[in-house]
Amino acid sequence: MSKSAPVRTPTDLTSSVAGGIGASPQRPDGNLKVRGEFAYASDLWHEDMIWGATLRSPHPYARIRSIDITEALKVPGVYAVLTHSDVPGKNLYGLEHPDQPVLAVDVVRYQGEPVALVGADHPETARRAMERIAVDYEVLEPVVDMEDAAHGRGTPLHPGGNLVRHVPIRHGDQQVTAEVVVTGEYEVGMQDQAFLGPESGLAVPGEDGGIDLYVATQWLHVDQKQVAQALGLPLDKVRLTLSGVGGAFGGREDLSMQVHASLLALHTGKPVKMVYNRLESFYGHVHRHPAKLYYEHGADRDGRLVYVKCRIYLDGGAYASSTPAVVANAATLGVGPYDVPNATVDCWGVYTNNPPCGAMRGFGAVQAGFAYESQMDKLAAAVGLDPVEVRIRNAMHEGSLMPTGQVVDSAAPVAELLRRVKDKPLPPVNRTEPVDIREMPGGASNTTHGEGVVRGIGYAVGIKNVCFSEGYDDFSTARVRVQVIGGELSALAHTAACEVGQGLVTIMQQIVRTELGVERVTIAPMDTTIGNGGSTSASRQTYVTGGAVRSACQTVRGRLFELAARKLGVDAVGLSLHGGKLVSDLHGVLADLVDVLGDDVVDETVEWRHRATESLDPVTGQGNAHVQYGFAAHRAVVDVDVELGLVKVVELDCAQDVGKALNPEAVLGQIQGGSAQGLGLAVMEEIQTSGGKIRNPSFTDYLIPTVLDMPPMSIDVLELADPHAPYGIRGVGEPPTISSTPAIVAAIRAATGLALTRAPVRPEHITGT
């Protein structure tokens, strides 16, 4: 029996819009997206498919005494009800430590942990069946305090205790003292990625006993490995194809429905579709680690830093996910983009019964950034300096030493970025009648015409590492094929690197056009028939997959020159490609590439790696752990209604160095979007928990910025090439998310005179009520 293919699976992106690197061509998937025809993972459909659903724990911490599925199986339309005993392979998975069960066995460690699965003919049937699964829980007292967890207090939730990782950094003189000392304690709330396309996918059982999985993810090959282990299948029987991804921001690095849908498909022999709704999505992916941070900055009377001491706690929740790497980032970037001669940093990531936390845009650098930038403002006040001046006096530059001992060996224009945002014109004050209330805090709700409204200005700058760190073998695989199709020169680029909305597909086309002079470039669907593309995270895909595509093009070009040399009898040295023509340094245009190629096909696959990094010394935290550093600075202007505690961000300006803007418009899009997420963390976004339970798992209660909340932005993009990176690029996506939050909170402090040590700032923090 041959299985029919699913409907609305990914297709080649062929839309051909001219433009090499440095131009801003339109997205090849843009027309499909505006027409509503782009195939997202939740749009998949298959003849004869059934729906999968997940029963989740209502308790943050409980022992499972028994699970009775008898009544659920009796519901008409139900095909399967599965529990942990139906997991054929290893019932543990995880990005760095396999510690998370596919389905809970005898204990649940967070509210929302998957316990059982139902496959049914309709989502409503599945829901009704789930109501009839009887799980007998012995509810336990949850562990919710991250500092207790870090220091061995409270119930151990995993065999090794509750400490996931501690990273110490000892840099310079540990006994040094300073004339001016400022201290602070800070908190950062749990932020959600809130990507709009919910976790979704379709699993189709294969004739060979394997599985074809169509999903929205950030890393196909790491999913493949984890799914195969859980299913007890060899890798080649687990085939993944990337479906349309509706945003990611780190929230799709961990598995969600991948194994669950596959289990149901293999068990029932039917294609299984799973789509989370928004409520389930809040339980279905990891979040940004909430943090508690203790800082002490020592400086001389001129505001020059003498030392920084800090202790950072990150709550990883029930399972490790990427907590170890987040801890390393928060620690190594913990003093910010400053020359700090002496540093004592300790960062702990822990297990608790709070929701699991892992990757989100900024990845550890965000939490530290809020604290060290708040400290720099305190230091400015203590020494009587302007907040920008104190930052510029301490600004890191190329050649500076990180607290890890790593030399920053490409552009680090921290002072320049700060000067640029400071020198921008300020927006006018909206106080003269008639006031446009839509531009006031509270907006059209008509809460003020300017009474009680105070303006404030704040600054911040941040640092983020780009690519995978600490000795990880971080590479990408790209295949480029050139041939003549219908008399026209055509190229195809194929990788497994996930397009999640950021525009990698556009960048890949641009690189091929620039390297090969071929206008018609098709992007093949991303899947596991090709080698690992690495993760779409750490601002790394343009760097690493871009590097791989460029490298594959260079190999293809060499092959084309060999072909030309053989066919035309010329020397392969001194040849180049321009606009589909083969050009010789000495003789000018030699031939059309179409004629040189004829029926030949040149098809090359390469793996490409960035330069190697080192692990951190476990005692001193020393080591060349990072590949590249990215920097951005923000200035925020806010109006605060101090009577109601409402904040209107009036303007949010940014300067960022991107090395080389391969696609300048896409760079702006990343800076605008990243800044908006930072704005969300500053004034509204927090998953609020109580006793380990999420209080606001909906877009009604978890607020993300709307078009009314996000102000106009003036953006300066610097292009100071990194000689170590392809085309000189510097990862773009994350730096703007780091400095946006502290700049806005600094502006609110400037307006109100309040200390405001916690992000997000809530109205009651301003009104004191």
Binding site: R8, S24, Q26, D29, G30, N31, K33, V34, R35, G36, E37, A39, Y40, S42, D43, W45, H122, E124, Q193, A194, F195, L196, G197, P198, G244, G246, G247, F249, V275, N277, R278, D436, R438, E439, A444, V500, G501, Q502, G503, E665, A666, L668, G669, Q672, G673, G674, S675, A676, Q677, S698, F699, T700, I704, P705, T706, V707, L708, M710, P712, M713
Partner: protein, 160 residues
């Protein structure tokens, strides 16, 4: 139950519709029109915005059965064949599309705005799109797209 509904000008029929199903589910899962998006399914994000009898609604908040005998126009019904609607074209050209999951709802909402207010001010655009969440773009290029579409429609109208 059976639902008869006109969608993008075509008479359509859906059978075996469960009474609790939304218009969004019927469109996406029964009628092969997944363009309207399922981002929150609770009326907060606007990603499923469609016209119901020419009035924009969140398709997730409308019961499928409520659409019996009525007219629905979805994002799939905005373009004339290969010719994109000016709003659609402007979204692509202005770089207002990243992941694109919010795009169908925003395109319909912007389309509706420009029918009512051909030359909207920025505050008017912001109010009109305040019910549509986007997580990727920070909205700047969406504003650019709506301004561009307004200009384009104005010049198109003059040409006629």
């Amino acid at each position: 139950m059976r639902v008869n509904v006109t969608i993008n000008g075509d008479q359509r029929q859906a059978d075996d519709v469960w009474e609790g199903e939304s218009l969004l589910y019927m469109l996406r899962e029964r009628l092969g029109l997944p363009g309207s998006k399922n981002a929150c399914e609770q009326g907060e994000c606007g990603s499923c915005t469609v016209y119901l009898d020419d009035v924009p609604v969140c398709a997730c908040l409308v019961a499928a059965g409520q659409c019996q005998g009525r007219e629905v126009r979805t994002v799939e019904g905005l373009a004339a064949g290969d010719d994109l609607d000016p709003v659609q074209r402007s979204f692509v050209e202005a770089g207002a599309v990243q992941c694109g999951f919010c795009t169908p709802g925003l395109v319909v909402a912007a389309h509706d705005l420009l029918r009512r207010v051909p030359e909207p001010s920025d505050p008017e655009i912001r109010e009109a799109l305040a019910g549509n969440l986007c997580r990727c773009t920070g909205y700047e290029k969406i504003l650019d797209a709506v301004r561009l579409a307004a200009t384009r429609q104005a010049s198109g109208a003059e040409a006629r």
